[in-house]
Structures are given as structure tokens and as C-alpha cells.
């Protein structure tokens, strides 16, 4: 199957001279749920900005549907790849929630009624209808986060990049976020999420990509990535609690020794129930 996005040997360097991306290659297929892991400063955010076309890589290539994206076509990257910034306050520019959400679709030069439809849909999706006329400086952190996600939903991008979306959310906010992510995934969107939350990455992702010092250290199924102790040590990651618990259960003979670690608590309960 043709990958929706292909990245070939991407390199990028900020003014400080230290390479932020040092030869990154990655294929993204439609409908994938990819967790992008790695310590702060590993290049995750820079990678996202390159994928979305905001930053122009020094060398390397990005292919969209197999066609290379040159300088002129960088705008099509913006249209088809949306990015939700880590800090919602860095992203929100308008003075009411509704006009904020309309900013992206207006830039896509859509007709007025189509923009209005998309704004309504995005606000409905993020449960923000009650806030539509409110100024953003009146909202709480969690509400601003929802606005920043609605911003990108209104652009109806096929690929959505979320930069540490759960940072600064309370548990209820995280739960709501996961529901939205699940729904987006069911609707066939391709999602890449950078996160430090290994438990979330373990249960949510179909694929885990580990960044370290501007390179990709590992790119595999979460079970494989989180099973590699040497890799986790090198990338300053820890094992998910569920994997640790499963090891204990297996050592005590309470779980089948040959079973793969389940990724959710529900799956673990089922596995133990079978036994």
C-alpha cells in the first residue's frame, strides 16, 4: 500500500548549529496511530514542524502520496497535515472561539458557508458550542486545549500531529482527549502524537517511534519497543506499568508464559480470566 507520507533522510539545523534532525526516515500509512517518544530536545517537535511544512528541511525529502513535496508544494502539506501545538496559547490568535476555529478553513480559501459548517462541526466535536462567542483569555487550560484541537479539526486534515497534547491536562481532560483520539482514529484519520506518557503510548499506539538526538532509534510495535530494556535505557524511557505488572504476574505463574503483554487493563483481565 502506498504510504500517505514518506520522509527520506531529513536533516534540519537551528541557529545554534546543533542538528535537530540528523537523517530521519519514516513511512506513515493512512490510519496509523503512531506514538512519537523520546526525551526533550530529541527533535520530535522539529520533526512535526517539518512534516507540516512550516520548517523547510536543509536536506532530505518529504513525499506526499508518493509525490515529492518541493518548496512550492509546501502549502499542500499545511492543508493535508495539521499540527496541534503543545501550548494552546502559542496557537490561539483570534478574539473569540468561533473566529479562532475559522482561521484555518478561511486560509484554505473555502466558501463562507463551508467554513461555517466546518466551524460548527469542529465545535460540536470538541463540545465547545457553549463557548463559541467567548474570548480565549477567558478559558481554562483544558478548554484552550480543546479549542486548539478544534482549530485543526476544522481544517479536516488527513494527518494530524499532536505535540504532547496531554501535557497540562487534568485526568478528566486526558480521558476526554483519549475519547476524541479514538473517535478520530475510527474515522480513518492518521494520528502522530508526541508524548512522554509511556502508559498512554503503550495502550493507544499501533506503532512507536523513538527519537534520540535527532535520529530515530527504534520504529516498531509498542510491545517490541517497550520490551527492549537497552533501548529504553538509552532513550531515557521507562517501561509501562502494565508491562511491569505483566512480568510480575508471569513470574508468579499467574499469566501464561508465552502470551504477549496485553496493551490494556481490559485485555489483561480477559487474559487472566481465560486462564
Amino acid at each position: 500500500m502506498q504510504p500517505i507520507l514518506q520522509v527520506r533522510d531529513l536533516r534540519f539545523c537551528y541557529d545554534s548549529g546543533v542538528p535537530a534532525l540528523d537523517g530521519v526516515s519514516l513511512d506513515v500509512h493512512a490510519g496509523e496511530r503512531i506514538a512519537v517518544l523520546g526525551p526533550n530536545g530529541a527533535g520530535k517537535s522539529t520533526f512535526f514542524l517539518c512534516l507540516n511544512g512550516v520548517l523547510a528541511p536543509e536536506s532530505g525529502q518529504i513525499l506526499l502520496d508518493g509525490k515529492p513535496v518541493d518548496k512550492k508544494a509546501r502549502k499542500t502539506l499545511c492543508e493535508r497535515v495539521g499540527i496541534v501545538f503543545q501550548n494552546a496559547d502559542d496557537q490561539i490568535i483570534a478574539s473569540t472561539v468561533a473566529s479562532e476555529v475559522s482561521f484555518g478553513p478561511m486560509n484554505l480559501r473555502l466558501p463562507r458557508n463551508e467554513v461555517a459548517r466546518r466551524v460548527d462541526h469542529a465545535l460540536e466535536y470538541m463540545d465547545l458550542q457553549a463557548f463559541r462567542a467567548r474570548p480565549p483569555h477567558d478559558l481554562s487550560g483544558g478548554e484552550k486545549k480543546r479549542v486548539s484541537i478544534a482549530d485543526i479539526l476544522a481544517m479536516e486534515s488527513e494527518v494530524i500531529l499532536l505535540d504532547e497534547p496531554a501535557a497540562s491536562l487534568d485526568p478528566a481532560g486526558e480521558e476526554r482527549l483519549e475519547r476524541v483520539l479514538a473517535r478520530l482514529s475510527d474515522e480513518g484519520r492518521t494520528l502522530l502524537i508526541s508524548t512522554h506518557d509511556v502508559d498512554f503510548a503503550f495502550r493507544w499506539a499501533t506503532r512507536a517511534v523513538v527519537f534520540f538526538a535527532g535520529r530515530i532509534l527504534a520504529d516498531d510495535a509498542p510491545q517490541t519497543v517497550f520490551g527492549d530494556a537497552a533501548l529504553l535505557r538509552q532513550a531515557h524511557l521507562r517501561r509501562p506499568v502494565l508491562a511491569e505488572v505483566f512480568d510480575v504476574l508471569r513470574a508468579q505463574g499467574m499469566a501464561p508464559p508465552d502470551a504477549a503483554c496485553p496493551t490494556t487493563v481490559g485485555a489483561l483481565a480477559r487474559l487472566l480470566g481465560e486462564k
Binding site: L49, N52, G53, V54, L55, K75, C78, E79, G82, I83, F85, N87, D89, D90, Q91, I92, I93, A94, S95, T96, A98, S99, E100, S102, F103, G104, P105, M106, N107, L108, R112, V115, A116, V119, A133, R134, P135, P136, H137, D138, D151, I152, M155
Partner: protein, 261 residues
Amino acid sequence: MAHRHTHGPHSIDRLAYQSGMRGWNPAFKTVLAVGTLVFCLAADRPAVSAAVILALAALQKGKGKLTLRDYFGLLLVSLAFLLLGGAAVACDISTVPAGDWQVRLPWFYVCASADSVRFAASLVLKALGAVSAMYLLALTTTACELVDVLRRAHLPPLLCELMYLIYRFVFVLLDMYGRMRQAAGARLGWRDFRTSCRAFGGTAGNLFVLALRRSRVYSDAMAARGYDGDLRFLEEEKPVRAAQIVGMLLFWAALIVLAVL
């Protein structure tokens, strides 16, 4: 150092967002406010000024759902300045007693005549009417809608976009400064005058650096959503109702009648 945010840009901005007249067409409100201002100034009659003040207060209370306490509280701010200015107009200084009333001070007299007091009072009333007309706009229309009205009035787009972004950044920077201020306070940064000066310098300098960095992130975030040098938002349609126009014309007609009588 506890402080509350009840005054300043927060409160006027909040009143505008909460106003019952927020749903009115902003261009209509601008025409109403500016037109009434012109009538008030051109008529130059205390009766017209008083009518404008009372009618607009009633409008803000009735349609805007603003409490009279809030409204006159805000009006009082400008009234304080106007009264000081009015006193200067009404009174004269002379070495000999003159006018109808005098206050004797060492070396000179402060005097006022009935005419000068009447003139000053009508001046204050006129200015207060003009202020009420501007409050009609300021307390019911959000800053971004005003910018939109200006844009439609063919103010250069660059200026409009600057105003729009500055409005948003005022709140972003206020928020940032508030947090830095608290952080400095948590480390006894405001314990005495010297430390306060140092802490203020530090936060101000830091704010500048942060603002620069923030602006870079912002331009990235805008580019990520396809911004190409033309700031566009979907403005809500707020149609003007016929009753509003009729009301405005009747109000103006009443003012003309008052001015001519």
C-alpha cells in the same frame, strides 16, 4: 502582595463580552454612537446633552443589561477629570475682587461669575454626553468587532491586523507578566523598594525576551494553519433590525427637536 483584577482593560473588555447589546450589528452601533456624539457636540445645548446622557444610560441598562452601578461607576471616572477641567473654566484668578463669588487667598482672589459657572456646567454636561456616546460603543462592542468595522471602513489592512494581534497579545503578555510577578513575589521579590526595583527590572527584561520567543512560535503556528500574510476570520453575521434603525432615527429626531426648542 495580593491583588485583584477588577479594573483596567479586563473589566471593560469583560463588560463588552457580557453586554446584552453584543448581538447588535457593530457597524450600526458605531453609526449610532458617532452620530449621537456629533449631535451632542453640534447642538451645544445642556438639554440635548442631558437627554443624551439619560437616554444612553437607559439604553445600556435596558438593552445592554448593564447595572447602573457599573455604568455610572465608569462614568464617574471621566466625570472626575471633567469636573476638574470645568472648575478651571468656571474660575478666574484676579488681584481685585470680581465676578459674583470670590474666595480670598493670600495675594489673589479666585472668582467666578454666574455666567462662567453656567458655561462650565454646560461644557461638562456636553463632554459627559460625548463620553456616554463613546461608552455606548466601548461597553457593548468587543475590540475585534471594532477592528472589523474599521477594516470595512477601508482602514489599511496592515493596521487592522496589527490592532487585532496587539489586542490578543495584550492578554497573553498580561498573563505572562502576572505569573512572573507572582513567582517573584513567592521569592520575596517585592519585600522592599530596592528589591522591588530589581525584581521589576528582571521581570520586564524577561518579558521582552519571552515576547520575542513567543512571536516566533506564533508565526510558526500561524504558518502551520496556512497563513499567507492576510489575516482572515469568519465574522458572525449580525443583521441590523428595522426597529433598531427606526429607534435610532426617532432618537435623533427628538434630539433635533430639543436643540431647536
